[in-house]
């Protein structure tokens, strides 16, 4: 006799859970791997696994509201005549015009300028809108060299050689045809509407010895005035940072595996690279070994969301952080509504047409962004009003800055850059090992000599 359905014991397989079943079903139906936007969705050790040991009897705090705590951040002092000077240690990461709408780039520039920080171009070159709206603009030199030219290089405040990014280290890039509008195609010298590939290797140099000569060329072209950043996805971080420093970088940018993208293969997003928490201490160790801590700037990115994340990154040795996905969310990414200047307009149905829902969207690759951020469709782009969205991002950056200074004061620091590893402990054994800080309540650092 069959058991009553309510009495059946149904056990989901740990190996073949619902997600894996869906993955295999998709593969059988499409014969194609998944391409999507945003970053890793899997659970990873993060900065959430660390907490601060704020002041008590053994440490003396600063008064939270009235005593000054500086967040001024200077990057690129090693060789450049004009280092980057920022009011806050939070920068906007490179995101291309093409993957993002011109309005989104414009809004990010306005917000960053208001808060005294920098934005970064992306694959596809520099738009006049972002140059106008960004007081401090970092110009990316990517393998594709789409739109790369000496005039824009000379009007940049820094140049960033991109070797890789956290979402797809070693993977190159792609912009699917639906986003290759006439303007995007023109900037990239490509036919309109084609699936556009961004190379994974630079065309004019290969190994680290060549990189040193490439950096020298960029310095010569800009008369040694602006800093040269080198950005890498977090894989073999210790060795990679040493090579970048040896090649002459002023600033090294490390992008952990939580870093986002507009479009790449799911397998890269979830299975390549190491978490930001694990990457940062390796980068710091490399700089320490070369006696370059403080001389070569260090920016960390990949899943930075809160003022707490920023404070913990600084305490572990970063000079600044870079945000991408969080900045998009501040622009309204995954919002149920967009704002038309007067009122909120529900776009739940548009998410539905993408077979997703607000809060779950990662469909930047589709070009059908319901809130006008990751699109080149003029009708959709109009859903993002740069002046309105810039105010949201500015508020968000302001909160991050306030939280960092608040935490720094509570640790007794008058400068956010005085936060140090000694201010942190870990809540889990794995995060203690990755971050190189003691497990809370102990003096044990797993893996330390």
């Amino acid at each position: 006799m069959n058991a009553h359905p309510q009495q059946r014991h149904l056990e989901e397989s740990a190996s073949f859970d619902a997600g894996v079943l869906e993955y295999i079903r998709q593969a059988t139906q499409c014969g194609l791997y998944e391409i999507r936007g945003m970053g890793a969705k899997r659970r990873l050790p993060t900065f959430d696994d660390l907490v601060f040991l704020t002041a008590s009897a053994s440490r003396y705090p600063l008064e939270g509201y009235r005593e000054q705590c500086s967040s001024r951040t200077v990057l690129g002092t090693r060789f450049a005549e004009r280092p980057i000077e920022l009011e806050i240690p939070v920068t906007i990461a490179g995101m291309s015009f093409g993957s993002l709408s011109a309005s989104a780039k414009d809004a990010l520039g306005r917000a960053a300028s208001e808060m005294g920080t920098s934005t970064t171009t992306g694959d596809g070159g520099m738009t006049p809108e972002e140059r106008r709206s960004s007081k401090t603009l970092v110009y990316q030199c990517l393998p594709s060299r789409y739109g790369f030219n000496p005039d824009d290089l000379r009007q940049a405040d820094a140049v960033e050689i991109v070797i890789g990014q956290g979402a797809k280290p070693g993977g190159g890039g792609m912009l699917l045809g639906q986003k290759v509008s006439p303007r995007v195609a023109g900037m990239r010298t490509l036919p309109e509407g084609i699936d556009q590939r961004s190379a994974c290797r630079h065309p004019d140099w290969t190994g680290p010895d060549d990189l040193a000569i490439k950096i020298q060329e960029l310095r010569e072209i800009t008369d040694w005035e602006i800093p040269v950043y080198v950005k890498m996805g977090a894989t073999r971080v210790f060795d990679d940072v040493k090579l970048a420093v040896k090649a002459g970088a002023d600033v090294v940018v490390i992008d952990g595996m939580q870093g986002g993208t507009a479009a790449t293969q799911h397998i890269y997003i979830e299975h390549a690279g190491i978490p930001t928490l694990a990457a940062l201490p390796q980068a710091v160790a490399a700089l320490e070994e070369m006696d370059m801590l403080g001389e070569v700037g260090l920016i960390i990115s990949g899943g930075i969301r809160t003022g707490a994340d920023v404070a913990k990154a600084l305490a572990l040795g970063a000079d600044a952080v870079s945000i991408g996905q969080a900045a998009l969310i501040a622009l309204g990414c995954n919002n149920r509504c967009h704002h038309d200047g007067n009122d909120w307009v529900d776009v739940d149905d548009d998410y539905g047409q993408l077979e997703t829902a607000p809060g779950f969207c990662h469909h930047c690759h589709s070009g059908r962004c319901p809130v006008g951020i990751a699109t080149q469709d003029p009708d959709l782009e109009r859903r993002l009003l740069p002046e309105v969205a810039a105010a949201w991002v500015k508020n968000y950056l302001q909160v991050l800055a306030m939280e960092v200074t608040t935490m720094a004061r509570a640790c007794g620091k008058s400068d956010v850059h005085h936060l140090e590893r000694e201010d942190l402990v870990a809540l889990t054994v794995e995060s203690a090992a990755m971050a190189g800080v003691p497990l809370a309540g102990t003096s044990w650092i797993p893996g330390a000599d």
Partner: protein, 243 residues
């Protein structure tokens, strides 16, 4: 009248030379006609002696001037050039004329890898051979190689024209977009999505005109045309890497 000025890299650094070329030279040259802003004797020629394999010589120029480099030079010579006519009387290392926007770069000897990489405009002439990946990521302009080119030349070339009077190595034009390649000698193999196409009258005329502009000898009637089959423009999962 033509005024020239000599620089000796045995006596000064590349950085000092480039700073002069970027900061002072434009003040001394009328960029439109070569007439001096300041006097009647326009500065139109720069001679660079003892390059000694130095890198980035004459990189980042934006000025209508002739630069003559007397000897062998290193990587990134005349990188990102605009307007200037740069001639190297010798061989060069990697990536000569990379990202050139306009003007002309001429190498009297041979060029190492990635010559004219990512070039957007202007004319690059290699009178000897060019190594692998010549014209990689080409975005416009004209590249003329009097000798042979190595493998993977014109890889992912997007726009512009490349002429190879000698032989082309394996994987020529791999993943080509809209750039067109003409080869006078033997082709050792085409890359993914590159195909040979019939030479039309307009192609013969294009080769004739470009050879003449580059002052390179060759019989345009003997060249073959290579362009993109455009089968990779839209990604095909069923290709199983059989490109």
């Amino acid at each position: 009248m033509t005024a020239s000025r000599d620089f000796d890299l045995a006596e000064m650094s590349v950085r000092e030379l480039n700073e002069f070329l970027h900061r002072e030279l434009p003040e001394l040259v009328d960029v439109s006609q070569g007439a001096s802003i300041h006097d009647d004797d326009p500065l139109t020629r720069i001679n660079v002696f003892n390059p000694n394999g130095g890198h980035s010589i004459a990189a980042g120029l934006d000025c209508a001037v002739e630069v003559e480099i007397h000897g062998h030079a290193g990587y990134f010579i005349a990188g990102m050039n605009k307007q200037a006519r740069v001639t190297v009387h010798g061989n060069v290392g990697w990536s000569v004329a990379e990202n050139m926007m306009s003007g002309e770069v001429r190498v009297k000897g041979h060029a190492s890898e990635s010559a004219a990489a990512s070039m957007h405009g202007g004319l690059a002439v290699i009178e000897g051979d060019a190594s692998s990946r010549c014209g990689i990521s080409l975005k416009g302009g004209r590249v003329v190689v009097a000798g042979n080119v190595g493998h993977f030349s014109a890889f992912m070339a997007q726009a512009g024209t490349m002429i190879v009077c000698g032989d082309a190595g394996a994987n020529l034009g791999d993943s080509l977009y809209e750039a067109v390649i003409y080869v006078g000698g033997k082709i050792h193999g085409l890359g993914a999505d590159a195909r040979e196409e019939p030479m039309e009258t307009s192609d013969v005329e294009a080769v004739r005109s470009l050879l003449s502009e580059a002052d390179v000898e060759g019989d345009p009637e003997t060249f073959r045309r290579v362009a993109s089959a455009r089968s990779l423009y839209h990604w095909n999962a069923d290709a199983h890497q059989e490109y």
